[in-house]
Every structure is written in structure tokens, then in C-alpha cells.
Amino acid sequence: MNPRRLWAIMVKELRQLRRDRVTLTMILAMPIMQLVLFGYAINLNLRHLPAAVADQAQTAGSRAAIQDMLASGVIELRATVQSPQQLTDLLRQGRISVGIAVPTDFERRKLDGREAIQVMVDGSDNVVQAAAAQLAQYPLDPPDDFHARAEQPVSVVGFYNPQRRSPVNIVPGLVGVILTMTMVLFTAVAIVRETERGNMELLITTPVSRTELMLGKVLPYAAIGLLQTSLVLLLGVWLFQVPIRGHLGDVYIAASLLILANLSLGLLISTRAKSQFQAMQMTFFVFLPSILLSGFMFPYDGMPRPAQWLSELLPLTHFMRLVRGIMLRGATLGDLWPDGMALLAFIAVMLTLAIRLFHKRLD
């Protein structure tokens, strides 16, 4: 490998990139846009669900129970109605997400140990249903009541994100999602574009080696990936007060591993794709499972076995564990070495395949 030739390819790539407004915008705007979208709009921890109450008992006990529920902040009272029938009407019309019905025989049922209050939930949204389920956990009586004690034998304490703020959970993962989205696509397209425009036919008649060509195309994008990482981290800390409890250096090492994994995957795609459009399709083929199976949106432990196996193959899964561990739990790379090794193995396999499949020939 000749360092001067490698340098020449990298400089060429950066010069071309400087003139490519669309890609440049994508590099900078995509992290900012996603961060703001995921950080502000997507909030899995719902509060202020619109609710209505139909208290047919009207006793001191029933009023206290309803006050307890409202005090949780999960629901917000929008209407007080007379019958459970009116509650279901409101639910159907979409004006409330939660209806609380207290029957006339509330006190009697409580004594008997039967369900004394019915919470009706708009089940068309799973997240709402889960949030409303918390309501059922509220004790109906002062703590000396034995029913309440029996119903609440376990208390749940949230570590690392006690206020349950979504951005804390989402921002570290978002670094990985953005890197997966951009890095795979950029490299895949960068090489295929060269083939499409005919530049490749010229390049492969020169003494440039496969390794020089591949590294020269990939390394500028690695730098861009680190830039994006910094941007997301900076905004995450500044806008959402996301903590970085572990070493910042470890975060960057983990990010570099993911960047290299994605770039080598992009290279592999570029050796197979015939057009930029095909490269884009193949990228989405990887991107969708990455979003769904990596643990970014849905917890790994909740997935069926086969999905978990697939998930282990995705670089984003391992990065997700690394970055959440380092940033939120203050873990070190040493604590999380299996995921680091998994990423290294992924890079080695993909890069070898890509260099093998790339021929300096046209057939």
C-alpha cells in the first residue's frame, strides 16, 4: 500500500463531497432532525392522558381514590360524567384515553375484596394501555388496609433514569441509529456512483490497489461519522441533559467500532449493487431490522428467540449495549468486552468479504 496514493484518493473524495450539497446537508441535518424528533416528539413515558370520571358512589372513599389517581400525573381530568355508558361514548369518540368508573356499591365491594373501581383504557394504542395499567397499582385505601398490602408486595425502583425521561434512553441509541443510517448508505453509494459514472473503469486501469481504493473511500466517511457522533452527543447533553457517566473516550471507541462496522457493510453492498438505487434498497434491507431488533425501540429481552439471534448479528445491537452501558451506567469498555469483540468480528468478516468480492476487472 502506498500512503501517497491512499491520501490522493481521500483528498479526492473530500473534494467531491464538498461539492455535493445534498450529501453535506444530510450529514449535518439528519442528526439534528432526528435528535429533535426523537427527543421531543417521541415520548414513551406518557403523562397527562385525557380522562373522565363517573363516580356513582360519591363516598369519601371513592373521592379519595380518584384524587390519588389524578395526583399521579398520568391522567388529567377532562370531564365528570354520570354513567359508565357515557365513559365508553367519550372513549369511542377519542375525546378521552382513560375512563374511571366507580360503581354505587364501591364501599361494599372494597370490603368484600372484589374489584371496586373499573379503569377503561383506549387499547388501540399499546403505549397508552401500558401507561394506564400503572393506575391499577394504586392502593385504594390507607396503608393499614391488608388488601392493599397484599396487592402491592413489590415496589419498583427505576435506576439510572429515575425520572423516566425518554431522551436519556433514546439519545445514546440515536448515535447508533444515525451512524447506521448514514454510514452504510454513504459508502455503498460512493462506490456504486463511481461505477455508474464510469470513473471506476478509469480507476481500475491505474496501479491503484483494491485496499487503497477501499480504504481511501471509507476513511473520509469515518471522520464524518465521528463528527456526527460529536454533534448528537453535544446536542443531547445541551438540550436534554443526557448524562455521560462513563469515559467519553470509551464512547468514541464504541462509536468508531460501529462506524467501521457500518462502512465495511456499505463496502460489501457496493460490490454487489449495480446502481445507486439498488444500493439504497439493500441499505434499507439492513436498516429496518437494525431499528426494530437492536433494542433501540423494543427491549431485546421481549423478543422471540429467532429475533434475538438475528439481533445478535446486527452491529447496532452491540453498539446499543455498549453506549447505554458507558453513558448511562458508567460502565467501562472492559465491562462490556463481549459486545466490543462482536463488533470487531463483524468488521473483520465484512471487510474481508468486501475486498475479496471487489475485483479490479469488469467481469
Binding site: 502506498n2 479526492k12 473534494r15 461539492r19 464510469g198 473503469e201 478509469l202 496501479p207
Partner: protein, 314 residues
Amino acid sequence: MTESAIHACGLTKRFGALVAVNAVNLDVPRACVYGFLGPNGSGKSTTIRMLCGLLTPSGGEIEVLGLRMPQQAEQLKRRIGYMTQKFSLFDDLSVRQNLEFLATVQGLTRQQEKGRVDDLLRRYRLDDRQDQLAGTLSGGQKQRLALAGAIVHAPELLFLDEPTSAVDPESRRDFWEKLFELADEGTTILVSTHYMDEAERCHRLAILDNGNLVADGTPSELTATLAGRTFLVRSASPRHAKATLASLSDVLSVAQIGNELRVLMRESGASAEALRACLGQAGTSGEVEGTPPNLEDVFVVATRAHGARAEQPA
């Protein structure tokens, strides 16, 4: 060294069932401009790509500059230049950046690079456009830039794949001047074209048709084989005369050029008398006179003869 620059024997390329190049034998002497003449799809590009190691031949032997292909392709790449059919420099880099990039990639040192790029910019009249993006150049300028890019490392052998297909006649003439300049300096040039006038300028040429090499030699050798077989016919009604003459079995082709007809005849029955008689019978008068054969005639004969041979076994 007196050995030839390119020597190929039985060169064949198949793409699935399609035979793109069929058992071609080639011998290209050094420091000459060697032309590949043939219509689109005749296998010119495929042959050039095999010769510079971009495609693996399905059969046959190739030796280029004393190196066996495709085994020694990497060694060869330092010594050849290749100008692709489509403009393949970077549209989004400036003229100078393109040349600098190619110079570095071709292994020129930093000191050599500066001098060489300046020299090429001057020589190919691009110095006033050196900071312009390559994609915004005109056809002729792009072509000069592509040629400069292909010879930035002063290769011994230069492959040009239909270099003039997208430029005006003025630029074409200019371009050929540059090629002869390079040949004078000792560069061997292999150029493919489908223009007869360009083929006529080559020192030697090979005619390709449907993947077969159907004729080769110097342009004058090739035309000499047709001496006495080409005639000019002047007639008051050329369309009618053309139809009449084309029906004669000894006539291979009739082409209308303005008000004249150019007639090419079979070797066995070539005579001005036969043509006059035919015109007389059809009631059209016409003057018939002999004319020297040109490469187009050679091309027609070569491709016809081969077509006939290929059809016989079927």
C-alpha cells in the same frame, strides 16, 4: 526492442451464449497508430478491455509489452494509458485536480507531478480552464482532458476507445494531430473508431465485424485489394438507376452520394461494360467510370464476405 507491442492469438470472449470476440489474431507493431474499425457491437471495446486486463478472455493468448495477460495485468497497468469511450474523469473536480489526482495515483513524485501537470495543461490548451469543473467543459475540451489524463504517466502504450464519438470535426482533426505527436514520441496507440476518415489516418488497421477480425493491414494495402472493382455512375434518375443496379448479381453494393452512385462489384464480374448494359436494358442512361476504392468499400467487402461464410453452414 523490435518485438510487437501487442500480440494476441485466438482471442475469444463469450458472454453466456453470445460470442463477443471470436478467435481474433492481432499483431500491433510499436510506435504506430493502429486502428480498430467496426460498427457498434462488433467487439472493439471488448477486445480493448481484454488487452488492458479489464476483462478475462474466454480463450486465446495475449502478450502486451512482453507481459502475459491477464496474469500480469497489475504490472502492465503502470505502462499503459486507457481512455474510455465515455468521459470517465471526475465531473465534480476541477481540470487541474483531475490531472493531479491521476498523476499521484499513477505514482509520479510530488516534484514530477507539478511539472507534468503544468506541461499537459499547456500542451492540451487547458491552462486557462484549469480551475473549471471538468463536468462543465465542452465536448472537445473534455476529450483533450481525458487524453491528458490517460498519458499523465507517459505510457508506452495507449488504448483509446472511440475517443472522438462525441466531438465536432474540428476537434477531431485536432485530436488526431495530438495522437500522431504521441506516436512520433514512440507511444504505441490502439484506437477504435467507426469513422472511415479516421481509419484512413491509421498506420495500420483491423476491421472487426460481429466479433471477427475480417481484414487487417495498412489502409493502402487494404484498398489495393479492391483495385478495378469500384465505379462511379452519373445518372439523371439516380434512385431508379440504383434499384436497377442493385439487382445485378455481380454488384455487391450501391450507395448514393449526391447525384452520383458508388458501385462496388464482385471480383469475378467487375466491369464497367456490365453496368452500362444493365442501365441500357432498364432504359436509363448513365455515365460509368472507374474510381479508386476507399476504406468503406473494403469494409463492405470484408463484412459481406464474412457474413456469407458464416451463413453457409447454417
